[in-house]
Subunit: 585 residues, 2 copies
């Protein structure tokens, strides 16, 4: 295979056009094979094969620097920059990450996994090059779906001021993860239909020079365009029209399904390990759809990720104007929710823990200072969901629980979650965020109240003595398990479901001082700035001893969840051991 001879981009430059076409076929075959066995981003990579070969043919990486936005489309680049082995051999699939990664190669310049960052990051490389008095092309590669994000638009606007070499390749595959949303996509369509010649042009309106390539999967056309812009001493956009999923028919047909996939059968597209248990994501959406039928003012919002909470195309259609996809634009989504709530509507914004941090200022200013009663569903918040460093879901608790006015809830089971969701939709006093539990749904084993308006009121599940466990949300089951282990040692512990991440039940905490000497907090997230520290501070002036469990401060990457939990002593036996030691100290 040709790919086996490509050790670096220098080897691409030696190929003929025909050989490059053959190379493209090989890359596609390997991509489909790896993703089908290992899981990963499918459609974005398949669409960018020719453009990646052409960039490496024309430019001289790493002197010329290519920055891939969100890096969902960087696998072909990895194959051409000395990392083909990680696609050729199943036992080496894990040699590389699913994202751009400087520790793997000098051809990668940043760890990138969040969207809409490439233009600004590459702009920094270009400005740095100028300050250092160096030369070379800097190229940002950004998908059309990423253009709706504020950081990308800020970067595009700024780019015109740089005044020196800066190439922005807009990979227009006419899709975000799902379909695109926003007015600028009409302009992209106009540009495609006019072969880049229509008079109104978003990029030119941003002050940028512009080139259009209608055949974005044609190597000769791409090479010509890249040669044309190489070494240009001003910022320029190269808008290429590509086919997402190209070369895998199923992915060409259903682009949303094949943006990313868990392992699948290549012939049928069926998942190898279909997930059949009921999930909280699924439960949320089916529940909201039922409620929408009764209440036309209820409105679900997503920022470009409907799939993560099972808003399938059919369900989106069913919800009609009661479902809003704002595109990748979390800041707008939060402010929109605040405005809808102010107007009397009932917005429910569902967002992944890793992405809600893209809208901190909007949460604080637009939503919480205004105290508008929107509902925010924080999905996948846990140490055990996404384990790539760019997608960690560890930080939502510190981020949200310290914002005044925001009520942040942590349900512990299916019925409690639904009760909290229903309550939050009707609640008019404050914005409410709910940390949606992760994994298969767990039924309630105790009665669940329907009203949570007595804020910061914790639930005492078992009243024991000596030691109390405050077991938050996902870690309630861990708390139960620790209690059982302690019971076996003759320690009759108190078990508390705090319910509220954002506040302290001071009356309860103070009452525990009568017959408890140790309080333990368990939270499924980063420890610093989180829930447990509030408890430790509350008891600071007292004789109560506190033990806070959660993840230590670090950007962990591609970890095994069980090992990671063990390293942080987030294991029932270790916690029970610590408690027993402290009680007997």
């Amino acid at each position: 295979m040709l790919i086996e001879q490509i050790q670096s981009p220098a080897d691409v430059k030696r190929l003929t056009l025909e050989e490059m076409k053959e190379l493209a076929v090989e890359i596609r075959t390997l991509l489909i094979e790896k993703v089908s066995r290992h899981g990963g981003h499918c459609g974005p990579n398949l669409g960018m094969v020719e453009a990646t070969i052409a960039m490496h043919y024309v430019f001289n990486s790493p002197e010329d620097k290519i920055v891939f936005d969100v890096s969902h489309q960087s696998y072909p680049h990895k194959m051409l920059t000395g990392r083909a082995e990680a696609f050729l051999h199943a036992d080496r699939y894990d040699d590389v990450s699913g994202y751009s990664e400087p520790s793997e190669s000098e051809h990668d310049h940043f760890v990138i996994g969040h969207t809409s960052t490439s233009v600004s990051l590459a702009g920094g490389l270009a400005k740095g090059r100028d300050l250092m008095g160096e030369k070379g092309n800097v190229i940002a590669v950004i998908g059309d779906g990423s253009l709706s994000g504020g950081e990308a638009l800020e970067g595009l606007d700024w780019a015109a001021e740089l005044g020196t070499n800066f190439i922005i390749v807009v990979n227009d595959n006419q899709m975000s993860i799902a379909e695109n949303h926003g007015g600028l996509y009409r302009n992209l369509e106009e540009l495609r239909q006019s072969n880049g010649t229509c008079s109104n042009n978003l990029f030119r309106a941003m002050g940028l020079d512009y080139v259009y390539v209608g055949q974005g999967n044609d190597l000769a056309a791409l090479i010509e365009a890249f040669r044309q812009v190489k070494d240009k001493e001003h910022p320029i956009v190269v808008h290429i029209n590509t086919l997402k999923g190209k070369g895998y028919e199923l992915a060409e047909q259903d682009k949303e399904r094949w943006h990313w996939s868990a392992p699948f059968d290549i012939a049928t597209g069926e998942l190898r390990h279909p997930f059949t248990a009921e999930t909280y994501d699924e439960l949320t959406t089916s529940h909201l759809i039922e409620r929408m039928k009764q209440d036309p003012t209820l409105c679900a919002i997503t920022a470009g990720t409907p799939g993560i909470w099972n808003w399938t195309p059919e369900r989106r259609q069913e919800a009609g104007r009661q479902f809003v996809d704002v595109g990748i634009a979390e800041e707008h989504a939060v402010a929109l929710a605040s405005g809808i709530a102010k107007a009397g509507g009932k917005p429910v914004f569902g967002v992944c823990s890793s992405f809600i941090q893209r809208a901190y200022d909007q949460l604080s200013q637009d939503l919480c200072i205004n105290d508008n009663p929107a509902t925010l569903l924080v999905l996948w918040g846990s140490l055990s969901t996404m384990t790539d460093v760019t997608h960690l879901c560890h930080f939502d608790i510190p981020l949200l629980c310290n914002i005044p006015n925001l009520v942040y809830l942590a349900p512990t089971n299916r019925e409690e979650y639904l009760a909290m969701l229903d309550w939050s939709i009707g609640y008019k006093e404050h914005p409410v965020a709910i940390r949606v539990p992760v994994g298969p749904t767990v039924p309630a084993t105790r009665p669940v109240p329907s009203d949570y308006s007595e804020l910061n009121k914790y639930e005492v599940v078992n009243r024991g003595k000596d030691v109390a466990l405050l077991a938050l949300g996902n870690f309630f089951a861990l708390g139960e398990s620790v209690c059982r282990l302690l019971e076996a040692q003759g320690i009759h512990a108190t078990l508390v479901n705090p319910r509220f991440i954002s506040g302290v039940d001071t009356a309860l905490l103070d009452s525990l001082q009568a017959d408890h000497s140790v309080v333990v907090t368990l939270e499924d997230g980063a420890l610093e700035g989180g829930f447990g520290e509030k408890i430790a501070r509350h008891y600071g002036p007292s004789a109560m001893r506190t033990l806070c469990y959660g993840a230590k401060k670090e950007f962990a990457d591609r970890y095994d969840a069980q090992e990671f939990l063990a390293e942080n002593r987030l294991v029932d036996t270790l916690i029970a051991e610590d408690v027993a030691t402290l009680l007997h100290a």
Copy 2:
């Protein structure tokens, strides 16, 4: 005066065109008079007088809803909506806030003080109106300077999809706080020069309908334009060309100086209470300019607020390409700094505490996961600087100190600050943020090291026993004062300068257990999620008692700083009292 007869917008509708012109003159006189005595936003309000009168003449507020971006320009609106008394009488100046404020009037819909939020918030009102089955115009008023912010661009892009009534008034006064930066401003210029007819049009490229008003301070032209768009059943931009500072000659001449002003003499423009002591902001900029002369790779960055750290137009010119104003675009600024650092340059991004929260995701993803050695200067971080709820500088510690890899420093005096700044510029291991002290500079009274690469190493300033005070940054002097009060009671306290907000000196903390029973933390910011809670958690399992001082969780508004500190027991006598009580408990 006519203004005395305006109790609500209904009274505006009764005026003739000539009377409205007279009203405009009166409003300007009152604006200049109030700002000259009270301080406030000057230029933005003066430019929007006619447009505000025309909006209230044409639309029917509050059924029609007007949302003012950043609300620097909302004083004329306040005067026309029942709040003129707060501009007519000096003793009632404080009846209204400097920003839009729903608690004052049904004509204000949100508390707004951060930039670039109006389109999204008003978009929410429009979507909410549609969900509720209601009618009425929704109008966002946004300045040209605010357009560079990501949230505004996200909102503009989304607006086209709404498909129902939504009017976006772009108040183009050709200025941000300082001059505008970004390619889109070339397009605005082209639009002005072509009377709105040039073929390339940013707003149309975003999918929006568009109307241009060349004479944005002409009542008749404005009334005609607003009548034209009123009740339109699709989103439309009304681009009005206004004169910032109109009617006050000094403000028309020097728009940057007169964006906002402290109290001044109307005839000369001189400040009534000029600030003559050396400030840390001034010190920073003069120091950086000197260093830039030696090091062409050093680069200062601002996001549209050069004035807050004394980057005057002359100094910006002197720094040349080593000074970058990205416009109001904090997200881009952080990513740009990361890219420059990656390329080997030395970026220093100076940003107000209240605004750094606009870029949390970029701090986490673009900067800290990549661990690029940029320097971030957090300005004005304190409970005592800005006291409007939208501009609180309380939250930077919880926001920054919990991000892995980021070193967050709190200098306690002039020499320590400069040493930390110099060290951070040369440091290559991690990104460094410095919480720049507030107020006049304070000279060092003890030697200051030049190297801070031994991370989380606290300075023991006085070694005493029984009680130790960890007095962070701005509150070091408070710690000294508490020590003196305790000394007078025979308690010889240990005083520690923690230096590092982002980490715990576990060796020191553990060593204190030998002869201390109480540890006190003092931080000039919000308590929850901050520095003190880390100390409380560290000591949780031990017998050490901890007392954490900082501001309790709330969105305080327009408070008296001394009273606020007292309410939070941030007073030397109160703290000494608490310590003595706990020691003797």
